[in-house]
C-alpha cells in the first residue's frame, strides 16, 4: 500500500549557493549515492540494450533452461533469453516511467499552483483532485487502456493522466504556505499580475519539491506500467517486465521456471526502490532542519 512518502510540510526556499553545497551533501549519503548509481546503470542498460543483447524474437532451441553461463537469467518456454527480455524491458519501464511522470508533473504542478493562488480555481480543482484520489485507479486505467490500441504512447498518456492528483495535492499544500508569505503580498502591492506571481515567485519556491515529485511519480508510473502489461494491456511490440511476468503466468510453467518470475521482479524492485530512495533523500537534503543549513 502506498502511503505518502512525503509529509506535506512547509519548507522555506533554498538559496542557490546552498543548493550547490547540498548536491554534494546529497551524494555523500550512501543510500542516495547507491540509488543514483542504480538509476545510472538502468539508464545505461536501456540506452545500450541493442549492444548488450539481441532483441528477443522467435523460438530458440534451449527451452526452460535454468540460469547458466550461456543464459544468465535462464530461458522461457519458447527458448527466449530472459536476460535479453529484462534488458529490453528496462527501455519500456524507463521511457513510460519518465514520460508519464513528466505529464503528471506538468499537470499537477500547474493545477496545484493555480489552486494555491487563485481561490475560485481551488474550489473546482480540490473537488476534481478528491474525486480522482477516491477512485480505484487501476481498474480505471484498465478500462481505458482496453479500449484504445495499446502502444507506448497511449499507456504513457493514460498513466500520466491519472498520476497528477497526488502531485497537485503536494504542490498545492506547499504553494498555500508560500502564498501566505509577506513577499507575495509585497509583489502584489507592487502591481505584479497573478500569472507573474505564480510563475516567478511561487514556482521557484516549490521547484525542489517538483524534482522530488518527478522521481516519486516516476516510480509509481513504473509500477502502473508493469501492472497494465501484466494484465495484457502493454504494447505488444515492446518488451516489458510486466509482460515477462504475464508470459510466465500464461505458459503455466511458473512452478518450474522460477527464474522467469524472479529476475523481472528484482528489476522492478531495484528501479522503483532506487527512484523512491533518491527522491526521499533529495527531500531530506532540501530540508534545512535536517542538514543544518
Amino acid at each position: 500500500m502506498s502511503a505518502p512518502v512525503l509529509t506535506e510540510q512547509a519548507v522555506p526556499p533554498v538559496a542557490p549557493a546552498v543548493a550547490r553545497r547540498s548536491w554534494f551533501a546529497y551524494l555523500r549519503q550512501p543510500s542516495a549515492a547507491l540509488s543514483v548509481l542504480v538509476l545510472v546503470v538502468m539508464v545505461a542498460l536501456a540506452l545500450l540494450a541493442p549492444v548488450i543483447a539481441d532483441e528477443p524474437a522467435g523460438a530458440g532451441p534451449d527451452v526452460l533452461q535454468p540460469p547458466s553461463g550461456a543464459h544468465w537469467f535462464g530461458t522461457d518456454d519458447l527458448g527466449q533469453d530472459i536476460f535479453a527480455q529484462v534488458v529490453w524491458g528496462t527501455r519500456t519501464s524507463l521511457v513510460i516511467g519518465l514520460a508519464a511522470s513528466l505529464i503528471a508533473i506538468v499537470l499537477g504542478t500547474a493545477i496545484g499552483l493555480a489552486s494555491a493562488y487563485f481561490r475560485p480555481i481551488d474550489a473546482v480543482a480540490t473537488v476534481v483532485t478528491d474525486v480522482m484520489l477516491a477512485l480505484p485507479t487501476l481498474p480505471l486505467m484498465i478500462m481505458l487502456a482496453a479500449v484504445v490500441n495499446p502502444s507506448l504512447w497511449t499507456l504513457t498518456l493514460i498513466i500520466g493522466f491519472f498520476a497528477w492528483p497526488e502531485v497537485a495535492r503536494l504542490i498545492r499544500s506547499q504553494g498555500l504556505v508560500i502564498s501566505a508569505m509577506p513577499y507575495i503580498d509585497g509583489a502584489r502591492v507592487l502591481g505584479a499580475s497573478g500569472w507573474r506571481i505564480v510563475t516567478r515567485e511561487i514556482l521557484p519556491a516549490v521547484v525542489s519539491l517538483v524534482i522530488v515529485s518527478v522521481l516519486l511519480t516516476a516510480s509509481r508510473a513504473v509500477i502502473s506500467e508493469a501492472g497494465l502489461s501484466f494484465l495484457g494491456l502493454g504494447d505488444p511490440d515492446a518488451w516489458s517486465w510486466g509482460r515477462i511476468l504475464l508470459n510466465a503466468q500464461r505458459s503455466g510453467v511458473v512452478a518450474i521456471a522460477w527464474w522467469q518470475t524472479l529476475f523481472p521482479s528484482v528489476a522492478i524492485l531495484l528501479l522503483v526502490l532506487a527512484a523512491t530512495v533518491a527522491g526521499m533523500r533529495f527531500n531530506d537534503t532540501r530540508d534545512p532542519r535536517r542538514n543544518g543549513a
Binding site: 500500500m1 502511503a3 481505458l144 521482479s265
Partner: protein, 317 residues
C-alpha cells in the same frame, strides 16, 4: 451525527456520479470507441446499423448518456459482449470474493500494523524501528504480482503448503469447506499484506512518535499513569486516527492490488473477471467492474470517515 452522515453520503454519491459521467464521455470520445470496437469487419452496413440500434449506439451522445444513467440507477450495467448475460449478474457473483480478499487483507494489515508501529515508536532507533523504516520504504517498491507469483512458486508449488489457485475445494462440505476457504485465502491475502504492511506501520509509528510528545501524554505521566496505559490508551487512540484516514484513502490501491493478486491465483473475484474481460475485449464488463469497484471503494471510504468521527474525541456530533 445524522447531518454529518448525510453530507458524507452525499459527497460519496457525487464522487460516484462524477466518475461515471466522466468515464462515459471519455470512453465515447476516445479514438477506439465502443461503436467501432463492437462492429466486426465482415459485417454488411445494414447489419452494423442494426447492431448499433440494438445497443442504442445510433442515438445522440446526450440521449445515450441520459438513458445510460437511468438504466444505471435501476441497477442495469448493460449486457456482456461475450457471455450473453447482464453485467450486473456477472459482477455480483464475483464481488463477494473480492470483498473477502480485500477485507481480510485490510483487517490483517491493521491488526499486525498497529502493534508493530507502536512498538517501533516506543523503541525508537532500535532494530525493530530500523527494520520498519526499511520495510516502509521497501513496501512502495514491491510489485503485487511479483510478490504473489514468488509466494505461489515457493510456498505453493515447491513446498506445497498452500493451494496455488482457486478459492475453495468444491468437494468439501461443512467445516471442511470453511477450512478449505481459509487455506486458499492465505497466499492471496499474504501478497497484499506484505505490500501494505510496511508503509502502514511506518505511518502509524510516525504519528505515534508525534502524539507521545504531546502535552497530554506528559500530563498523563505526571498523573502517574503507567507507561503501558499512556501508550496504548491515550497515545494509540490519537495516533490511530490519521492512520485510519490514510487506510481509507488507500482502499483504491488495495482494490487495485486485489485485481492483480486474483489474476495470479485465479481467485474468482472481480479482479480475475477484469483480467478475463481484457482478454475477451468485453468492454461492458470492464466498465461495469470499474463502476462497482468505484462504488465499493467510495462508500467504504465514507464509512471510514464516519468511524473516524465516532472515534475522534475532538469531534462531538
Amino acid at each position: 451525527m445524522a447531518r454529518f452522515v448525510l453530507s458524507r453520503a452525499l459527497k460519496a454519491v457525487l464522487t460516484v456520479w462524477i466518475a461515471i459521467t466522466s468515464t462515459f464521455f471519455l470512453l465515447r470520445l476516445l479514438p477506439g470507441d465502443p461503436t467501432t470496437l463492437m462492429v466486426e469487419g465482415d459485417m454488411t452496413p445494414e447489419m452494423q446499423a442494426a447492431l448499433l440500434k440494438t445497443y442504442g449506439l445510433d442515438r445522440p451522445l446526450w440521449e445515450q448518456y441520459v438513458s445510460y444513467l437511468r438504466e444505471l440507477v435501476q441497477g442495469n450495467l448493460g449486457i456482456s459482449f461475450r457471455q450473453i448475460q447482464p453485467v450486473v449478474d456477472i459482477i455480483v457473483d464475483r464481488l463477494p470474493w473480492t470483498l473477502l480478499l480485500a477485507g481480510t487483507a485490510f483487517v490483517v494489515t491493521v491488526a499486525v500494523g498497529i502493534p508493530i508501529g507502536v512498538a517501533a515508536a516506543v523503541n525508537r532507533g532500535r532494530w525493530l524501528d530500523r527494520a520498519l523504516q526499511a520495510l516502509g520504504i521497501g513496501g512502495h517498491a514491491l510489485f503485487v504480482p511479483s510478490v504473489a507469483m514468488l509466494l505461489l512458486v515457493f510456498l505453493g508449488a515447491r513446498l506445497g503448503w498452500f493451494p496455488i489457485g482457486g478459492a475453495i475445494d468444491p468437494d468439501t462440505r461443512g467445516a471442511a469447506a470453511y477450512l478449505s476457504l481459509a487455506h486458499h485465502l492465505v497466499l492471496p491475502v499474504l501478497s497484499l499484506v506484505l505490500v501494505q504492511l510496511g508503509p502502514y506501520a511506518l505511518t502509524l509509528r510516525t504519528n505515534m512518535i508525534e502524539v507521545l510528545g504531546e502535552d497530554y501524554i506528559r500530563a498523563a505521566q505526571a498523573r502517574g499513569l503507567s507507561a503501558r496505559r499512556r501508550v496504548w490508551k491515550h497515545g494509540l487512540r490519537n495516533a490511530i486516527l490519521p492512520a485510519l484516514t490514510l487506510m481509507g484513502l488507500q482502499l483504491g490501491t488495495l482494490v487495485g492490488g486485489a485485481v492483480l493478486t486474483e489474476t495470479v491465483f485465479a481467485y474468482p473475484g472481480v479482479g480475475r473477471l477484469i483480467f478475463e474481460a481484457v482478454g475477451q475485449q468485453d468492454y461492458p464488463v470492464l466498465q461495469g467492474a470499474f463502476i462497482m469497484l468505484a462504488v465499493t471503494v467510495v462508500f467504504a471510504n465514507a464509512l471510514t470517515d464516519m468511524f473516524y468521527a465516532v472515534l475522534n474525541p475532538r469531534i462531538r456530533l
